[in-house]
Amino acid sequence: MSHNINCLQCIVPPHMLKNMLANGSDFQKQIALASIAVSGQLRGHRQALAESVNFLATTATPGKHRTVYTASNGSTLPGKVVRAEGAPATGDPATDEAYDGSGATYDFYWDVYQRNSVDGNGLWLDSTVHYQQKYDNAFWNGQQMIYGDGDGQLFNRLTIALDVIGHELTHGVTQYTSNLSYQNQSGALNESISDVFGSLVKQYKLNQTADQADWLIGQGLFTSNVKGIALRSMKAPGTAYDDPVLGKDPQPGTMTAYVNTAQDNGGVHINSGIPNHAFYLLATALGGFAWEKAGKIWFVAATTKFKSDTDFQGAADLTSQAAGELYGQGSAEQQAVQNSWTGVGITVGAQPQPQSQSQSSGCLPAALSILQALLGGNTQN
């Protein structure tokens, strides 16, 4: 269970908590206390999971084990069980969609790539629905899925789109494999892997070929108040929405439009448009069901070749390498992979990104933090 260390990354280090409690302001003490409470919650849950995984490892054959909980619009996790594996539908859409969606995701990974759940070892799939109030988000917290009901104004309930469920559970797969660092290019790659397999879960469920698929992420999530068809488009990044409240879809589809920003952990949900579009180009070039060849190449690269610091150039090189191993060096498939990356401005086998690229992405936040420090210093005087 060594990978579960990852989920503690959200927690302030123990030595810092101690300092904050001993010497911090009232607010810092509050943060420290809240962090300790949360880490205690996670620890208890992790222990239960560890026991279940150990049990499964020795006794079980591959199979789904889903539990859906409700947070009853509060924040306590995992909450109260509302549907266990094998139980009939409840009639509550969020509960039943979380149950069916995690099942569809499990089936996809098992049927297509023979991966037994998120950790490859039959991890039980826990989901909590009705998290907080008007919460327009869904996330994987290192051990389970969490879904909000949406605010009803801009967002519908988050379980409404199957690819969202596939996206979030794939964050779990990434956590247990490459553990791509969630910032800058490796973070955008982490996001893209979740979009790619989220979309493939949906395409597999609908039995769609690459030509038939919509290549949208989060279709159905926006209410009718929003001017947009989805959150992201892998086919045409930057075109998913253009709305008076939410602004315009900021995704680039090629390296020339790469966005250097300190926000969104270095634009992880923005620059993911680039590898997303590379995958789309590959899938449509190869034709047929996207999960068969394009998905297989991406799956092998992402789960066995990517490291925590793999960037876009690394992803291009490693997916080409995977295609060579799967279909032969110089095969049509490998050539298609190289063409798809060329289509977004990345040349397989090229030298790492020019310095200006990595410098500007690192320098800007640094300059900003210096500026902020100066401003902060001035205002305190």
Binding site: V12, I31, A34, G218, V245, G247, V259, T261, Q263
Partner: protein, 110 residues
């Protein structure tokens, strides 16, 4: 007093923003916001309240408050929003959702 608010990240990865001049709000709403700001001791908060390592698809809130005397910016990760900070964050989120106070897109990428 002026407030600049940006919620970034989340699964959607979109930017929900608001630029609010308290003088333009109703006296009631303005008073509520001032109370929420005071309750958090906003100007004493650390600038960065972030997890040691970013977590997938969580929100991040950036709040800048300017009074004639001082300006302070606090960036806080969703998992570290405390019960005292939550009313202010939720209130600003609600105001941002109306779209009435949105900042232009070009200012997001900094």
């Amino acid at each position: 007093m002026r407030i600049e608010f940006v919620r970034s990240g989340g699964f959607a990865g979109l930017f929900l923003t608001a630029n609010i001049d308290l003088q333009t709000l109703s006296p009631d709403e303005s008073a509520t916001l001032e109370r929420e700001i005071n309750d958090t001791a906003f100007f004493d908060l650390p600038e960065q309240i972030k997890p040691s390592s970013p977590m997938p698809d969580r929100f991040e809130y950036q709040i800048t408050i300017s009074s004639p005397q001082r300006t302070h910016t606090v960036t806080v990760g969703e998992s570290l929003v405390t019960d005292t900070l939550r009313p202010l964050v939720d209130h600003l989120t609600e105001l941002a959702r109306t779209g009435k106070y949105r900042r232009p897109n070009s200012k997001f990428f900094m």
